[in-house]
Amino acid sequence: MATPLRVRAALVAAATGLVLTGCAGVTPAKNETSSGGDVVLRVQGMPAPTDTAALAQFKRLVQDFQAKNPGITIEGTENRWDPLTFSAKLAGKTIEDVIQVPLTEPQGLIARKHVQPITEQLKQWTHYQEFNPQVLQPLSDSAGQVYGIPQAPFAQGLVYNRKLFTQAGLDPDKPPATWDEVRAAAKQISAKTGKAGFVHESKGNTGGWQLTMLTYTHGGSMETEQGGKYVAAVNDPATKRSLELLQAMRWTDNSMGQNQLLDQDDVVKQFAAGQLGMFMGTPGTYRLAKTKFGMKNTADYGVTSLPQAGGNATLGGAEVYMVPASVPKEKVDAAVKWLLFAQAEPQYEPAIAAERAKELAKDPKAAVGVPTLPMFSTAQQDKINAAIKPYVNVELDHFKPWLEGTPKLTLKPEPPIAAQKLYTILDTVVQSVLTKRDADVDALLTKAQADADKMLAAEQK
């Protein structure tokens, strides 16, 4: 008697479960539209309550936007890109309608069709044609469709601690312009101050990402096109020279400190605490160091263009706003309106930029006027810079080397196919060089090339 009862119970439970989960699958997401037919737009990127000035500004932006766009209601969330929850929220159709992602992610999201193109909506905007193509390039696919808008576009540079430079007998107004100079400066900083002269990230794909920018400065690239398909260009003299530079700094000069296995947050945290001399990063790390990691002496922050070794190139970088593929059409229109209002217009219209800078500057903890690459033309950026000048609270002089050096460099995009997977392969290479004294660079690159070729072939099947 017991068995049939158990079987029946299991069947009833299974049926109930399936019915319930089935219901969950067909129930529309709660945020489709509000009762009055208004579009309710859930957007990531709302500042945290601790960042009071930025949060107040965000709330005012929302009010202004809603006043100008009746029928659209904005619901801000503090969420940002989180790979752990993104997939589940995407599958459950609970992902926000506008997501904020670091610039390492867009190409992967585009390739997996997790985000949707917004070119059509962007084209409705009067100034669309004036966008700096270099800024949109990392957010576009090979067919030229655009998938996002950057918050503040940057090019990678070299961030350095001006105080440690002075302590080490270096001139903080003449930062290194070549990798030979970086090596010498790092050695001097380590010897004179006992701090790490230079650090290279190596965890969570950032190792591969930073090796890519280092390789660009040595004249290489990570993927090349052959007969319409991309193959890896990892086993290349430029990458080899980059790794040998790291190897020499780590083991011969002993100028990279003891702590490896770092990601960007680890590095900026150490930098904000005055524990390291130099790292590859954008001027955007100033904001991170000041507002997130509480850097007290922001006057110690310096940034220059990415040092070179024959490549004359750098890599772009920024936070980006994108629209997930699951968002319905009418919400995409609203999302692009919001993005143009919140992100693009203040980087085009001097009056709007000035108003926002003024408001933000009320809080001394905020970082106002961190220089960026022009989102539009240089002339337009000059107008913006002039308009916000009275409210700037960052030490603009300390960004001069980056501002002056970067326009002389070519802004190269990330590897076009499966950049993140390539970075995973390269992370291992960087980690080996940084943690094994006797790492064989040639052998590592040969293996990485084979792994990358196999991965790229599978990706382009």
Binding site: A9, V12, T16, G17, L20, G108, N259, Q431
Partner: protein, 314 residues
């Protein structure tokens, strides 16, 4: 529940007047439905949060999906891709290394600790609290704390070892020592619970056995070897299997300490599954590797069930 219903069903006809067969069947059905009604909430919760995800995971392992567009059936393609990934072999070896080191270091530690605690008379409660304390520290907090202990420059361990002229050691920073460092933390974090179970089992060993052994001239080691350990055998066996199943699924330590590095030295199977799914967006491959891992765990569980059954009948 089932047993109770059956008993009642068996007892009732004797107490009441004989009923027609159809009426009896109706009454039985009503009782069954009532039982199911009480069961329903648990069944729904299990169905929703355990069975459906398991079923869905199994389905996804045969599909290619980005979780937005309709999934495409790809047969065994995901399994083939996963099995041809050289990292799978590496992750498996690393996982086995973690399991092995866990057995060598982590397994005897709570037994020794419990044996020591069982002989200590003064401040016994204090020792128990101290030993159990790491268990109540949230794993992430414990790992972040140990990350500082392991810091190659200013970390606690290197500072202490430096006082006696040892080190500095790279701990997490070297492929040779990273996995060992993870096991040490995991042992510290997990041994409190096991030690208390052993302690309880040790107090259950009749003192006459020790006394008899002692009067036969057995020293402390022979008493431990010939009296205590044989008495603890069932508990040791169970905890051994539980540890095996637990350590095969190690994720938090490598994820927070090293993210699999350096040089993939701490890349475990679960971390690789995580990478497939959340770093590369290859949900099918992640599900396929999960299914393979589930099969291994199912075999272990079968062994566990078989052993517990044989022990309980002894």
């Amino acid at each position: 529940m089932t047993t109770l219903l059956e008993r009642r069903a068996a007892a009732e006809p004797a107490a009441t007047a004989p009923q027609p067969r159809a009426s009896r069947r109706r009454a039985g059905l009503r009782r069954e439905l009532l039982g199911l009604l009480f069961l329903a909430p648990s069944l729904v919760v299990f169905g929703l949060f355990s069975w459906w995800p398991i079923l869905r995971g199994l389905l996804i392992s045969f599909q290619q999906t980005n979780l937005v567009d309709p999934a495409v059936w790809v047969g065994l393609e995901n399994f083939r891709t996963v099995l041809s990934d050289p990292l799978v072999g590496k992750a498996l070896l690393n996982t086995l290394l973690f399991v092995g080191l866990g057995l060598v270091i982590g397994f005897p530690a709570p037994i020794v600790l419990a044996a020591v605690m069982s002989t200590v008379r003064r401040f016994a409660g204090v020792y128990r609290v101290v030993v159990y304390l790491p268990v109540v520290v949230p794993p992430v907090v414990a790992i972040l704390l140990w990350k500082w202990f392991y810091d190659p420059g200013s970390g606690l361990f290197n500072q202490l070892l430096g006082l006696v002229g040892l080190g500095p050691y790279p701990w997490l920073q070297s492929p040779n020592t990273a996995m060992l460092s993870l096991v040490l933390e995991a042992t510290w974090a997990g041994m409190g619970g096991a030690a208390l179970i052993y302690l309880a089992a040790m107090t259950g060993v009749p003192s006459e056995l020790y006394e008899a052994a002692e009067s036969d001239g057995a020293g402390i080691w022979r008493r431990i070897w010939h009296v205590m350990l044989p008495q603890l055998r069932p508990v040791i066996g169970l905890l051994l299997l539980l540890q095996l199943i637990g350590t095969i699924q190690v994720f938090t330590e490598p994820y927070i300490f090293t993210q699999g590095g350096p040089d993939d030295a701490t890349l475990t199977v679960l971390l690789l599954i995580f990478r497939y799914a959340f770093q590369d967006g290859q949900y099918g491959q992640a599900a396929a590797l999960s299914v393979l891992l589930a099969i291994v765990l199912a075999v272990l569980s079968a062994v566990y069930l078989r052993l517990t059954r044989s022990w309980s009948t002894k």
